[in-house]
Assembly symmetry: C2
Homo-oligomer: 418 residues x 2
């Protein structure tokens, strides 16, 4: 694909930002999460309607930067004490929200619709994803990201992302080699796990160096440049280790956040112990400054991602009257909704929280789209199945936030709290 | 050129930002304009030394966004009352700084070095450009952008940019058709002139609409999204009318700035006169908010541009011991320095101001590079001449700020003022 001339790129980007801003603000006024407006802007600008915005490589790169920065913000805002307390519950929700849709999706495709083994596997895998970007945004929109269930949801979505990536790697290996080796799978799990353990620590140390450099140099843009570099470096590192770039942004955000605290064990003997402890100490003022400078960037780039998700779907290319495809779409949509919704019920919490957690896990978004792209590229799905999956992912992405928002609005437990 | 995989792009961007931040801050500490550090970072990362950063389309697009946003800031900060007062002087400096280097460059190449007509024309044209981006940044670094001579310089640099673009269009026509029609040239001049007259007015009206939308919608990112869209739209418009995209950013910045004031003639009868007047009224609070939100973006993207300028030069590919090429480089460098420096002397000002204005016009930067690219693509210059021109443009870009900075530092007239 040849790069767009600069004026066309500028025009496309301007149209995309304008549409995102206007649709998002309009949704905001109507009480609908702005992210839905941005996805709708993508449907309008994309091949479904106007066909103005094509996924040019540069736009995709900007979108990718946007979603990584968004995950950075999610990481920064994640209250680690609470996330830790939510830990076991997040794991339970993530596992249930992974295996239920996988089983339901695979089962329906294989037994009800007679699709092949590998295609059914692709379909099941596509339904496992949770769009942490969209989920975090919706939680923001309804003001519940810092709530108790918000932390369970973020934790589960992050774990789901990790599980999804492992599934993707395994599926890829299965398609390439026709078989999956336990050693290969173990290596993938090990790499991703190591990354999530070590990256925040490494990022924290780097961040302390950044803070020290920034205190000494009197250069207005330096802090932002260094923080963005850190996010990009950790995203690259995540990718190099087989994890999604998103996790790099999340890990960097965790480490730069005000609640990231590493306590050296008292009995650990270290050279320069005091210096190391200083490097690891949280620095709330520095966190605040980073966040203030990052926010405009995130406001600008995150919508690019959501519009492009909408623009990657072509609703018009799809013959909705074909009963087989329409049936498959309806059944998979039901499986996608039910599988995630039910995952909330593994919690021993009030039913309001169970519903909220389940509904928050519904949107599939970017990770689902990656599965579809892989499936199409490797011949696991033909255009018709690809279209069905796109429709299902798009519909969960639209319906999830609407349902969650409506739930928060009308359920008495939250109505009173709000 | 195939687009880079996202992880490579992220890594390259991170290396680029890190190097720009560190080199820039280091220069800042040493009292050298940070922009020189960023150009040096480009030389280090580019093919001259490490070869890590290639001008990938996405990086170029980011750089282009950076320089357009920088021009937006220059436009916002331009004090129009002073720019108007500087008007005639800016025109004189721009014209002298255009024709002197053109004549000197063409003359030296044609008569002294026996180069062809068209190649000599390309060389002369390349020397006419003034890098408004670098000039504005250096003036910032020495704290003189708002000074009297700063306004003359910005005005002259903007006019030089316009003259440079007209020359580029004329040269292109000459190469394509073998001749230049007066009608064709008139059309180009007319378009660019019309754009610079009408664009700020149109941008002002759009900006007032943005301010009105922003007041009503309670959406935190909306203002920035709309402002960036406006900048991109006007850049596209500039391009469509045959002007450089940079001018679109400048025009949008002018219009959104706090000093942009359009007074309706008292005798003009207009429907909705009061509404129109309200749309045209300056809104200092809105200008301040736009600038506050834009600044982090500019800090992040402008360095991408300067690093890529540095990375587009390959000092290693050039045989500096060839006496013909070394001589040509030395002579053209002298012509490039002398031509712009002398342009300051058309002013009837104290000699300190004349020197400062002349020196500020020295850096060629981006527009010069565009000329070279055109020349190479159309066969007006071979690789050797292209290398010479690249070296001259790079050296003026490095030497201009150093000389200007040194001048401001050591000349008694400014020493006392500082």
């Amino acid at each position: 694909m040849t790069p767009l001339p600069i004026d066309q790129l500028f025009l496309m980007l301007a149209a995309l930002l304008l549409a995102a801003g206007i649709f998002g603000a309009a949704c905001g006024r109507l009480g609908i999460p702005p992210v839905i407006g941005e996805l709708a802007a993508g449907l309008v600008l994309g091949p479904s309607l106007l066909g103005w915005v094509a996924p040019a490589p540069t736009l995709q790169a900007l979108a990718e930067i946007g979603v990584v920065l968004l995950l950075f913000e999610v990481g920064m805002d994640a209250d680690l004490t609470r996330l830790g307390r939510a830990g076991a519950r997040s794991v339970a929700v993530a596992l249930a929200g992974f295996f239920l849709p996988l089983a339901l999706g695979f089962g329906c495709a294989y037994w009800l619709f007679g699709l092949s083994h590998t295609t059914s596997l692709l379909i099941g895998a596509t339904l496992t994803a949770t769009s942490i970007g969209i989920t975090a945004r919706v939680l923001d929109d309804v003001g519940r990201r810092q709530s108790d269930e918000g932390q369970v949801i973020i934790g589960a979505a992050v774990l789901d992302d990790i599980l999804g990536v492992i599934t993707l790697a395994v599926l890829q290996q299965y398609v390439d080699a026709g078989t999956v080796s336990a050693a290969g799978m173990g290596r993938i799990v090990l790499f991703v796990g190591l990354f999530m353990l070590l990256a925040p620590l490494a990022a924290k140390i780097t961040a302390s160096l950044i803070a020290a450099v920034d205190r000494r140099a009197d250069s207005p843009g330096l802090l932002l440049i260094l923080a963005v570099s850190l996010v990009l470096l950790f995203s690259t590192l995540a990718h190099a280790l087989g994890a999604p770039v998103l996790l790099g942004g999340f890990a960097a955000g965790l480490a730069l956040g005000p609640s990231f605290r590493v306590t050296l064990p008292a009995r650990l003997r270290l050279p320069f112990r005091r210096g190391v402890a200083a490097l690891l100490a949280p620095d709330a003022d520095f966190s605040r400054r980073v966040e203030t400078q990052m926010r405009p960037l995130i406001h600008l780039f995150a919508p690019v991602f959501f519009v492009l998700v909408g623009a990657s779907v072509d609703l018009g290319s799809f013959d909705w009257r074909d009963p087989y495809l329409a049936g498959l779409t309806a059944v998979l949509l039901a499986a996608a909704l039910a599988g995630k919704w039910a995952a909330g019920f593994v919690l021993r919490s009030p039913s309001a929280v169970r519903h909220a957690v389940g509904l928050a896990m519904v949107p599939r978004g970017e990770v689902g789209l990656i599965f579809i792209q892989l499936g199409l590229a490797r011949g696991l799905a033909d255009a018709a199945i690809g279209g069905v999956l796109l429709a299902v992912v798009a519909l969960t992405t639209f319906l999830g936030p609407v349902l969650l928002k409506a739930f928060y609005r009308f359920h008495p437990a939250f109505k009173e709290a709000a």
